[in-house]
């Protein structure tokens, strides 16, 4: 055994903690698989020979005009118009992920900027921005969306805007709180005593220390945005049919209570939505445990495992 102890960098320690979190790893694998499906949605369509919007009146519908259950040709069955549920699900994943990720990133950028400015400068700036966040949080989301759609008509960009507008406040509040405590730290005073300006302190001293909360809360915002988008589509306010989206598929299943007969129309989009949001939430938790071990609830270490890492 060598006596040299290698000091592990914080990145390596974080990765080790992350990898040792089994639920987090399963979630991550699921998300990777989902991304693969979304990216390869066209490939799936090509393999099955069914495009997302094509109707198969002969094979996809029973002689009485009802959707067919899962079989060899349609793995997840077909919907009431004879379209392949699997292919539509894959294309829907694209929309869900794209909107979830893009909306979270945009919301994170806005939230971080507002939180940083409010927390760093304090005073009346903080008051104004704080009340602005309160104001946004107090607007009834669906009501606002309904009226917007009534005026502009449903579209992807409108969904995105609404989701971003209503989700940046959480991030803004978290960041503001962190900045409030960070700006009192001595390294900020030290920077100031060397003549650093406000921008320099905000970007070189404070922002790098916000890495963990930014990563964690952005990850946690993804499932919220996906659910949000699905809700909007379910209400017919989001993605315009016939383009597939998970919320829209659920809405179609609910039409005329067709799900009473065709259970696969609810089960597969529902499960996709459930597992996606669950995975992002569990991954967010795992990231928090890994990035900020102090917040981790106490776990009794396994005493059996006594393998000494001799190699290090």
């Amino acid at each position: 055994m060598s006596t040299e102890i290698k000091q592990r960098g914080s990145l390596e320690l974080t990765m080790r903690r992350l990898i040792s979190d089994r639920a987090g790893m399963v979630s991550m694998l699921f998300i990777i698989a989902l991304v693969a499906v979304a990216v390869g949605a066209d490939a799936i369509a090509a393999l099955t020979g069914h495009s997302a919007t094509a109707q198969f009146l002969n094979t996809g519908l029973t002689p009485t005009g009802l959707p067919v259950p899962p079989n060899g040709e349609f793995l997840f069955g077909t919907d009431q118009l004879g379209r392949d549920v699997l292919v539509r699900l894959a294309h829907g994943a694209r929309i869900s992920l794209a909107i979830g990720v893009v909306a979270s990133l945009l919301a994170a950028i806005i939230g971080v900027t507002v939180g940083l400015v409010a927390g760093y400068f304090g005073g009346w700036i903080d008051v104004v921005l704080g009340r602005l966040m309160d104001l946004v949080m107090s607007i009834p989301v669906l009501l606002c969306m309904l009226s917007l759609v009534a005026v502009f008509g449903p579209s992807v960009s409108l969904s995105l805007t609404v989701i971003v507008f209503f989700s940046w406040t959480t991030m803004g509040r978290v960041i503001r709180g962190q900045v409030l405590s960070l700006r009192e730290r001595e390294f900020v005073v030290a920077s100031r005593s060397m003549g650093a300006g406000h921008l320099s302190i905000m970007f070189t001293d404070i922002l790098p220390n916000l890495g963990a909360p930014i990563i964690i809360y952005t990850t946690m915002m993804v499932p919220t945005s996906i659910i949000f988008e699905a809700t909007l589509s379910f209400l017919g306010l989001g993605i315009v049919p016939p383009a597939p989206s998970w919320g829209g598929m659920l809405a179609e299943a609910a039409n005329n209570s067709i799900y009473m007969f065709a259970w696969w129309l609810v089960l597969f989009p529902g499960l996709a939505l459930l597992f996606t949001t669950l995975s992002f939430n569990i991954l967010g938790d795992a990231l928090r445990d890994a990035l900020d071990p102090a917040s981790m609830r106490h776990r009794a270490p396994k005493k059996k495992k006594k393998s000494v890492r001799a190699a290090s």
Binding site: I5, E186, F187, S193, A196, N209
Partner: protein, 615 residues
Amino acid sequence: MTVLSVRNLNIDIPTGDGHVHAARDVSFDVEAGELFGIAGESGSGKSVLSQAIMGLLPGAIISGEILFEGRNLLTLSPKDMQRLRGNRIAMISQDPLSSLHPFYTIGAQITEAIRTHRKISQAEALQEAIDILGRVGIHDPEKRVHDYPHQFSGGMRQRVMIAMAIVLRPALLIADEPTTALDVTVQAQIISLLNEMRLELGTAIIMVTHDLELLSSIADHAMVMYAGNRMEMGPGEAVLTTPAHPYTLGLLRSSPSHESRGPLPSIPGQPPSLLLDQKACAFAPRCAAAMDICRQERPPLRDFVDGTRSLCWLEEKAANTAAALPAAPEEPKAIEQSSDIVVSVSDVRLTYGGRSLFGKNINLEVLKGVSLELPRGKTLGIVGESGCGKSTLARIIAGLLPPTSGDVTIEGQSVIGLDRREWIEMRKRVQMVFQDPFGSLNPRRRVGSIIGDPFRIQNVAHGAARKNKVRDLMEIVGLNPEHYNRFPSEFSGGQRQRIGIARALALNPSIIIFDEPVSALDVSIQAQILNLIGRLQRELGLSYLFISHDLAVVRHVSSEIIVMKAGQVVERGDTETLYHQPQHPYTRELLAAADPDYRKSGGGFADPLSQGVTP
């Protein structure tokens, strides 16, 4: 009778980096009514040891025996252990503020402790609580028992903690750094109180501390720990006067409490990582008397006639071995220079507050008219207890905080009301070194960019030139320039303080303000930093403002001292005059409290400070 007997205790704590070997083969006995001291620097395993005795280390792998009144605590069921804790073994922790529940009155907390272990009525328990509070020196205990923790001052809170710990007459009391968080004058009172209680109740006390001198002046037996090893153990007096282990000797010699001036004999290097397996003597790499065998084999246990035992290859006591003395670095010649005044502070006042919600004027005067002058190339020490306004004064002088009234001039230029450009210029003249070596460095930036920050901000030296300057600075303060790309978390406390000093030096300032630069450091590291500070002053002709609560440290570095109390200067004068002929009663009290001989006599104060409620 032996109350506690620890036999061959090994403690391993699993962490993300591997197993931390916090105690290795430690044995000791504590007799009834004895004060047993455990001393060591941070990371020596002394606190882990006390937690192991209390059974508060759930994840650790512990082998050996801890026999308390004949029972092995390590094999006891959690339920039995719970019955012992608080009842037969009690603990006082370092921070009395966080160990008392802010939501309940102290009476409720003490009676809860009593009634957990004894079946008595609430009224009886309250009566006992009042009795014990009176005994630990709380005035008017019948009334104060219904007060909340925040209504007590720090020293009073620690008295309440002691009351809570001894109310059930435990056989053993573990005090983990009981006075570290307190002011000097209060420290002395708490120590003498602990001593009184032990004599009165016959409770054995294990006192864990980093302050070796405090310990050996009151402890019957003392144990010195280093990197999880018991280096030396023996009668308190013997360990202090004729230490057997070179480490103990080094610790004693490096504390600046002697009459000495100039460089301190410091222990070189850093304590080893506790993750390493130890095959040889853990102290060998830092030991002045290390021989070849020290680096190859584990040292034997040596017994001396006065009852001292030492884990060392030296056959004689280290105190009697010439080679074991840590060497004091040579003192270079100081630069001759004119003694004009570089910092002048006149009648600075600072008031916080304004109007409260109900229109009352609530003004908090932090500084009540402070004036001082600092001649070039000299060090002015500022001493005072926490809350006296000394750190606020430092920030005002550095220009980081505008005073309510008064003026500060640095090299003839006022630091108040400067425009942005002048202010940036001023930064090149005055710099600060902060107290907390963990808080004052941005954890997310590399050391090279932290030290290079002043260059970046002031826009001087770019690219390779800046990198070279940073490397030079690292060399000047005794850091390895190879560590340019490391993060602050990869350095120890002392090294971080060196980084802070290098950063302050970067712009060639003429004045450096040190705000408690060594109070967060261990004694052996403190000596290294003090030596560095002294050397830089002589080599670069710097002027220092040195702020500290520790009189010994201030005395060692300063040529002139001012004593502050409650926002005012109560006394100022030449260091030696101030020490030998203190004029103000407060100065006398500070001096008395910091004197180990004074503590030993166990005397109280004629008119104890901080008896009252904090405002």
